[in-house]
Amino acid sequence: MASLALEKVTKSFGKTDVIKGVDLDVREGEFIVFVGPSGCGKSTLLRIIAGLEDQTSGHVRIGDQVVDAVPPAKRGIAMVFQSYALYPHLNVRGNMGLALKQEGIPKAEIEARIKKAADILALDALLDRRPSELSGGQRQRVAIGRAIVRQPKLFLFDEPLSNLDAALRVNTRIEIAKLHRLLGATLVYVTHDQTEAMTLADRIVVLNGGRIEQVGSPMELYKNPANLFVAGFIGSPKMNFIGGAIAAEHGAQTLGIRPENLEIAADGPWSAMVSHVEHLGSDTYVYVEMAEHGLIAARIVGEALHQPGEMVRLKPVPEFLHLFDENGLALPRPA
């Protein structure tokens, strides 16, 4: 049974089409991540699922119920916002309990649910504090707690980590993944960060310009991107794209190769000049300038001693070549 289904959903603001027909089925208990560049419509889509925005056409189904005309509070969802959106006049307990109070759930039950959520998120000591007395990470945990206590059919996360600093972001990411395993709930998560998408998702939905470019598991998207956009968006540093004669040799318009699939070897077919080297310790990114093709990144494991200005030869690993036709669509791999 699909726990969330979008059917031909579109959204226009005036003459601008923001969502141009999206179909999607989300399975029970799945962790789905919407990812895409800013302005691709991922947040709008989430707001349509939440009921904060009305779709222009199409249907939204949550569980087995069409919710097109159901107000947000009655959709059986809970949402976590980028800015946390905690009620400034209520303490942590009040923030977590407000929705339950609105639903008319008995006090003892509310207390029990808050207690349970506070245990999971280590918020016990903070229950009587106001949001202004909490740190960013704590606020985010309260926002998540506020979602958990509702026991929703569907969790919606709108870029929940964007306001946290880098170290906290990694920790919270792990927390969210654990939480999803613990609750087993269906979860839709919006982010512009492909690393978050790769690390968290069961399936990633790549959006661009109001359309779904590809849906699939992180490794599916990584290994078999359906088109140039997905190929360029997933993975860091970006996949290298090479056109012209080299691509034509392989019968394609564009040839893609990920940085880690490029070796620097004396017998490589492509010649290039090193223009910049980044040492990360575990890896070295070597950026080379290739005539006609511009900057190409190669990722060498460990330390690689190359100097800017040095001439090197690049050798692609043939089984990791990606081929794209003139419309940017992926061609079948050469056997």
């Binding site: 939440a50 800015s83 946390y84 506020r146």
Partner: protein, 279 residues
Amino acid sequence: MRPARSSPARTGLVHLALIVWTIVALSPVILILMNSFKSRAGIFREPLMPPTGSTFSMIGYQTVLGEGHFIRYFGNSLIVTLVSIFFVLLFGAMAAFALSEYRFRLNTALGLFLALGIMIPIRLGTIGILQMMAASGLVDTHLALILVYTAQGIPLAVFILAEFMQQVSADLKNAARIDGLSEYTIFFRLVLPLVRPAMATVAVFTMIPIWNDLWFPLILAPGESTRTVTLGAQLFLGQFVTNWNAVLSALSLAILPVLILYFIFSRQLIRGITAGAVK
């Protein structure tokens, strides 16, 4: 070593300008206060001198308070001002919320229409207003003044509050909607407390012209029972003889309530005026 970003000369000039401005702004008030404590002879002989042993006199205050009606005039002014502020804030905030929160046709046009009231003085409509009040039997009632002042205050209130309400996080309102709060609860419990500084700003800017107004009380409510302080003080201004002691004392007393209201709002006000200027 001198701090890099201040020089005594520049700081001195800034302070000089501020001091001059303060003197210019305060001197009429001080003049009134000083002279209200002097005898009639003292006022005329040395108008710029503070009260001395020989010129000190409380005769003005005795006249004003002895007159008996003045307490009532104060009451009238307070009722009219406070009720008007209340309605201006309530309706202004509601309109501002609608304009800033909901997308609907003619939203911008409606906002501009409401802002028009800032530029067009309500006094231009005095004759029409008087006819309306006369026709509906509201002349010489508090309600007549309250209605006019509410209308007069709303445009600025909408203008300022809409600006502030746009800054209230959309996520917060959406979180409340998902939690099942009604739009009214969102407005009263979430948004209003967050724009409190702006409300105080609007309250002060609304209050002062209402309290000081002479025009509408004179035209719409000159009767004894609804007379306001500013109008009441005019009683002592005769065509031939003016009781200056009483006039000055009445004006001095009239400063007090606004001053008290101002202090109540001022803590919020400073935050309101400077909000946005510094983050």
